[in-house]
């Protein structure tokens, strides 16, 4: 154990930030840490867009709010980054040299760019938390991906993977218990959950107690119950994601 790992084990999402904005220096440092992370084949296929225009920020927050209605963390206080999987930069550099960017839209490049952007984001998250800040990933911008593409003028061969709000925490939520390693960490082969029924039952019990201890009776539920949510039709939203991945030039071969 060491301070870095202690920090990481202590991670929880922050949904309410103080009014104290990040300074320009803080933002620059966070972006620099994001860029220092590993990148697939050194292609650096990630761009980060800081949303500083209040109107634009509001519009992006509205996209998140429209589906779930109760995202109280959609506040103006956090600094809002949008992470972009970006093979457009390298495609443009190649075209400039007279080469066809024939491969930039492939599944291989799409995944590599998604990895680059996501790895960079999590590096930024750890750095932010080490500075006493808190973060929340906002996958909710994908509620209307096409709108995000238009608002941010995202060209072909780019895809907005998620947003990330970063600020000084104005709350101290509990860390939610995670699935035990006995379920998620396997050796040499994939182990289906039906071979880990006892461990799942124990985790369900633990999670149920966690919610009850929070006095959150409405959510005295188990992971097994929560895991079914994406089989229920009201969660079958975001029908346009696949369409936008394709219209942005990716995965044409699928």
């Amino acid at each position: 154990m060491n301070p870095t790992i202690e920090l990481q084990l202590n991670h929880r999402s922050i949904r309410r930030f103080k009014e104290q904005p990040l300074t320009r220096e803080e933002v620059d440092l966070l972006v620099k840490v994001a860029a220092s992370a590993s990148t697939s084949s050194y292609m650096q296929a990630c761009s980060i867009i800081s949303i500083t225009d209040p109107k634009l920020k509001h519009e992006l927050h509205q996209i998140g709010a429209q589906a779930f209605g109760k995202q109280e963390y959609i506040r103006d206080n956090g600094h809002l980054f949008v992470f972009v999987a970006d093979t457009a930069r390298n495609a443009e550099i190649a075209e400039e040299q007279g080469q066809e960017p024939i491969y930039q839209g492939s599944a291989d490049r799409f995944l590599a760019a998604v990895y680059d952007a996501t790895i960079a984001s999590q590096n930024l998250v750890v750095a932010a938390e080490s500075l006493g800040m808190g973060v929340i990933y906002l996958g909710s911008i994908l509620n209307d991906t096409q709108k995000v593409v238009e608002l941010l003028q995202l060209p072909k061969y780019t895809f907005p993977v998620f947003a990330l709000a970063v600020g000084y925490p104005d709350q101290t939520p509990d860390a939610k218990p995670r699935l035990p390693a006995a379920i998620t960490h396997m050796e040499n082969r994939y182990v289906p959950i039906r071979e880990r029924k006892a461990e799942l039952a124990e985790y369900d019990q633990q999670l149920s107690e966690y919610y009850q201890a929070r006095g959150d009776n409405a959510r005295a539920e188990t992971f097994s119950h929560m895991a079914t949510q994406y089989t229920r039709s009201q969660f079958a939203k975001r029908p346009d994601i696949a369409k936008v991945i394709k219209s942005q030039g990716f995965l044409g071969e699928i």
Copy 2:
């Protein structure tokens, strides 16, 4: 600045590890840190497979080696993790409760699982580096994705995103310069590289000098040149990735 950020800015990939293996306790701690990271909608759609069987490890390394031939970092010394984007667990839990997992293969869930696995991996990376270990991401397992699926017995609704080798460094490579924030960090809208030609020229110059200072004349090249590599046909490999994404049950709607 603080020790965590100093560590992150000091990141470089390690391609040669000492013979000292990770202890069981070290592996368990790293996996715990991975699980502590953010997870989309609390679905925890990530599994981690440790490859401890020497024969299996060799086979996975061969998949990486076959395309590039010279992956000297494909060594037996590092601990090899395979990260799996996994909506199969929750699909199975839902089916157990008599629900159809109608939504687990959607683009939305596929991306969320890829994010979960990638975020977890980068959290593990920072923890490993804080313990004096080094890492290398091995996207190269996707050279033959179907083979990986078979070797690890990966069921429908899972996808092996990449492997990660972790060990004690037996080399001290330089950190490679990254694209400047003037190019990668934008404000309120996407900025195409054609609007940042001067910054790119400067970075090309910097990278060229970096390679020359390393005495690596063979690689005295620029980012602009490297960025064209994925437009050249010899890099148009991995034609099966899209097919495997689909045959694993994902992105059927594209």
